[in-house]
Symmetry: C2
Amino acid sequence: MKKPELNNKDHVKLARFAKALSHPTRLFILKFLSCCESCYTGNIVNELPIAQSSVSQHLKELKEAGLIDGTIETPKVYYCINKKNWELAKKMFAKFF
Amino acid sequence: MKKPELNNKDHVKLARFAKALSHPTRLFILKFLSCCESCYTGNIVNELPIAQSSVSQHLKELKEAGLIDGTIETPKVYYCINKKNWELAKKMFAKFF
DNA sequence: AATATTAATCGTATATTTGCGATGAACTAT
DNA sequence: ATAGTTCATCGCAAATATACGATTAATATT
């Protein structure tokens, strides 16, 4: 097997995905989005014991990591899994192990 | 699909693994351990541009997450992948996606 | 125009992470 | 005994993460 490189681009990308997955609340949100029809921020907030602003922060992080997308349907925001990056992350984790 | 639970034990465990994987240096170390014969701390330090104390810190985190084991062979310390937990993490990530 | 709804963002507090150099512990070799 | 090797830990600084209440922005309703 070949020697790994530091700051290998894949490692940076994978680390980014891993970071997004590194908090139980975010794992919960991802699972929730992957199984429910109503995926507005409010629906997620209702399922969690933390403040709306905190949920919003977690959603922002998942969005910045590319794992979810948000669509404004004023005054609500609809969230869903970004399937392309979800598959990419899945593949990258599978490849890593 | 059933509704996810907050603080689901699997989520806490998976988040722990994800956190261990959330830094490029740690991904590098894991890859290095999984492909090299000489896996003493010094070998790893030599491959990285960061201080020995920082590497030691990353090794500690990987160890606490259960992904690696360290064996003292004074004055060196030999590190290797903890295969049981490695497989467990692999399965948990695969199941999650 | 005034009010209500929804969700992001701001400001703040606290905790954790990351990195470093210096030091210490456990030996080995001279 | 002294010096050298290897690696963990300490103490510190800076950056980042987590959570909260309050505020703001965008829009719909009355």
